[in-house]
């Protein structure tokens, strides 16, 4: 799904350029990357349905508890965003010969708008789980009291920006990688140089901006979920100022709090978490005591090792992608891009980075919130469906893992086949790809 968020606008840019300039190359790029977009979109539709059903199936207590607040953005997502993207992607795929070029271009932009709106409502819903706002508890159920508070949740806005930028990074890094693959084989170099240029124009500012935005998002997390930040830094004691640990061995459990080896940048954590180089970051041990006083005896710490490393993986991948984009732009500027073979390999391998970063980011977000399913309101262990046995959970989990792996593999194989350099983009195949039977 994040690939769809980012690839959508890029394909739309290609088509807009074709519309503006009338150069056939842009049309071919629209076709080429449009096919990749659609292969991937199919997965997004399928898994989106699962997500909606899954709340009720596995988390019935959660559903009843939050439905009042959490259900609304999901319903609005369906009505205002999902309907838009689904209908207009259909129009775009099949509308090449039935709509005027201008209208046809508009259908793609509207579908892209749909995916972006959809992302917003989903993140409003998810952010409510991280930082609940605009509700009151009545008879053990959360009730919505202010829809504006819900929609303008500071946490949601920052998360949205962070996620959309991630989507654009996704799209541009994948496009760049595919272009470099073609350079590597010397296939249609002129055509893909154009695409690479667009990808770089998107990638450079966006990867740079993401480093800043990710940081600002971190501040929102600090104020809403101190435990998550402390865990992601394996910070046991409150510190001021705090250094940012780049790498450490050990120090992840209560009995072994001091790492045997670590590389730390002084004061950086203070800045990242609070916006000031002197900021105070609370440690795990005092937070645990605080939470116990508030909510009763329990363990309020997530899995420190997992959280620490998912944070590192995400951040390092983010920095690497920025470097790849910046290097690519420099090579392009020096007119060496299509000859720098070492860079082609790098960019090709870099396609994996956005996948790694996004996955690590979601692990950080969701596992970092544990033991809560809704921060401070409902614990995960109390939210599941009481009537669904562990056996069935196991079976359904198994079915979905098998299904997702199969879909993922087919998706990969198809994307690879359609992105492959030795697959010519013949002109006779250009229009109406979806119509061929």
């Amino acid at each position: 799904m994040p690939l769809t968020l980012g690839l959508g606008p890029i394909v739309a840019i290609f088509q807009t350029l074709w519309h503006r300039t009338g150069q056939e190359q842009w049309l071919r790029l629209t076709r080429f990357f449009g096919t990749l977009l659609l292969i991937n979109f199919a997965i997004g539709v399928a898994t989106g349905l699962v997500q909606e059903f899954e709340f009720g199936m596995n988390w019935s207590v959660y559903s009843r508890f939050v439905g009042n607040v959490f259900g609304a953005p999901l319903a609005v997502e369906g009505l205002a965003a999902f309907a838009l993207e689904s209908t207009f992607f259909g129009l775009w795929i099949f509308g090449w010969n039935r709509l005027s070029p201008r209208l046809h271009l508009a259908t793609l932009w509207i579908a892209v708008l749909g995916t972006w709106l959809s992302g917003y409502f989903i993140l409003v819903a998810n952010s409510w789980m991280q930082h609940p706002v605009g509700y009151k508890i009545v008879d053990g159920e959360a009730q919505l009291t202010s829809v504006w508070a819900l929609l303008s949740n500071d946490f949601a806005l920052r998360a949205y920006l962070h996620t959309m930028l991630a989507g654009l990074i996704f799209g541009s890094i994948v496009v760049l990688g595919v272009c470099c693959w073609h350079f590597l084989r010397g296939d249609e170099v002129d055509l893909f140089r154009k695409a690479a240029k667009v990808a770089l124009i998107v990638a450079v500012p966006v990867t740079a901006l993401q480093l800043v935005v990710g940081n600002r998002f971190g501040e929102a997390v600090t104020s809403a979920q101190s435990m998550k930040i402390a865990a992601s830094e394996a910070q046991w004691n409150t510190c001021q100022p705090c250094g940012f640990s780049l790498f450490q061995i050990g120090g992840f459990t209560k009995d072994d709090q001091t790492p045997s080896f670590s590389i730390t940048i002084p004061r950086l954590l203070s800045y990242m978490a609070t916006g000031s180089f002197d900021g105070q970051v609370q440690g795990l041990t005092p937070l645990q005591k605080q939470e116990q006083r508030k909510y009763g005896r329990d363990n309020y710490m997530p899995n420190i090792r997992v959280i620490y490393w998912s944070m590192r993986v995400m951040a390092f991948a983010g920095v690497l992608m920025f470097l790849v984009a910046a290097l690519g732009a420099w090579l392009y500027w020096k007119k060496k891009l299509e000859r720098a073979r070492w860079f082609h390999w790098t960019a090709l391998v870099a396609i994996a980075l956005p996948y790694i970063a996004a996955t690590a980011g979601w692990i950080l977000t969701e596992m970092g919130r544990q033991p809560w399913i809704v921060q401070g309101l409902l614990k995960t262990s109390e939210a599941n469906s009481p009537n669904v046995s562990t056996t069935w959970l196991g079976i359904s989990l198994g079915v979905f893992i098998a299904l997702y792996i199969t879909l993922g593999v087919v998706d990969f194989v198809l994307m690879r086949r359609y992105a492959r350099p030795d697959r010519p983009t013949p002109k006779e195949e250009l229009p109406e790809p979806a119509v061929t039977y």
């Binding site: 090449w96 879909l407 039977y437």
Partner: protein, 348 residues
């Protein structure tokens, strides 16, 4: 007007829209292994629903989301209770979704045949389960005092609910064949019409039997009077009977209208029979979920009502426009050789 009732009606309308629209694309899917002679005709059939199936499926997502937001308790009990059934639905829908996008990505006949079957099986399976599932809301499932489903997967199957599933399969296949009669040309169109004729009487008899039984179930198991459930049931039977007459009289446009109406009235009969309950409990009637007990608070419903008032007409408008754009019948030669350049020119 009471917002809870408004949302109950709205959810019934959303299910109707879903059945009406996805009904024919499920029907087309189920006919895929039987109707076409060759790969080109299969492509033709795929193309009749290609541009719209995704938009049709949206109505399910909206119905699900609306239930979650407006009736969280109903959503929680239904989705966790019908666990395995919904797991199967998801499986069927997923293989069907990807069959649309992936089938034409390879020339291999085995690949194409496999995805054709995925679409057919997915369409059949999902239709069957929706039929069984919705009739179970009325027929009743074991629900305990805390509002949780306390039965097993097999409790979902009784004579009535299985007939409900069969009815939806038959009705969707019939609906799909009247749709194809309108949307194709030539030999395929004639065979679609012949299939519609063959299916019509069978489908009509099953629908009539099920709707009559529905009224009886409403009276016996849900403490309703014969009226109002009899109203949509009788209208539904009339619609499907008229559909038979129009199909036999080769009035394909009217036949499609009637199969569409019959589908909507099937849903209406279930929901009219349900009200004021949303899920009947078969163990202790007092445990049944009602519109009152399962709904969200007033403020959330009010917000949702405003959103629905703005966006529902909008969605209807642009989906209607989509059908207008793709109103031309799908010809066989169109599928065989795609035109060379994306030519300019207005809609249609």
């Amino acid at each position: 007007m009471d917002l809870q009732i408004l949302w109950f009606v709205l959810i019934a309308v959303l299910w109707s829209a879903y059945f009406l629209l996805e009904g024919f694309d499920f029907g087309v899917g189920m006919l895929l292994p039987f109707l076409p002679k060759d790969e080109r005709e299969r492509g033709q059939m795929f193309q009749t629903i290609g541009p719209v199936w995704d938009g049709n499926e949206v109505w399910l997502v909206i119905a699900g989301g609306a239930t979650f937001a407006a009736f969280p308790a109903w959503y929680g009990t239904m989705f966790s209770g019908f666990y395995l059934a919904l797991l199967l639905v998801l499986f069927f829908l997923i293989i069907r979704v990807v069959s649309f996008e992936w089938r034409d990505k390879s020339e291999s006949p085995r690949w194409r045949t496999a995805w054709m079957w995925a679409n057919a099986v997915g369409s059949f399976g999902a239709s069957l389960i929706w039929g069984v599932g919705l009739s179970n809301l009325l027929y009743g499932v074991p629900i305990n005092s805390s509002g949780d489903f306390s039965g097993t997967f097999w409790d979902l199957f009784s004579g009535y609910t299985v007939l409900g599933g069969v009815t939806i399969v038959a009705l969707f296949a019939f609906h799909g064949s009247t749709f194809l009669t309108l949307r194709t040309t030539g030999d395929l169109c004639e065979r679609a019409a012949a299939t519609a004729r063959r299916l019509s009487v069978v489908a009509a008899l099953i629908v009539a039997a099920f709707l009559s039984w529905t009224v009886a179930v409403a009276v016996d198991r849900n403490d309703k009077d014969v009226f109002p459930p009899i109203l949509p049931a009788a209208l539904g039977i009339a619609a499907v009977a008229l559909a038979v007459l129009f199909v036999l009289g080769r009035r394909s446009g009217w036949a499609f209208v009637m199969t569409a109406l019959a589908t909507v009235l099937w849903v209406a009969a279930i929901f009219t029979s349900l009200y004021p309950r949303v899920m009947v409990s078969s163990t202790d009637f007092a445990n049944s979920l009602t519109v009152d007990s399962a709904s969200s608070a007033h403020y959330a419903l009010a917000v949702m009502s405003v959103v629905a008032a703005i966006f529902l007409p909008l969605v209807l408008l642009y989906q209607g426009w989509t059908y207008h754009v793709f109103r031309a019948r799908v010809r066989g030669d169109e599928v065989e050789a795609p035109p060379l350049a994306p030519t300019a020119g207005g809609a249609g």
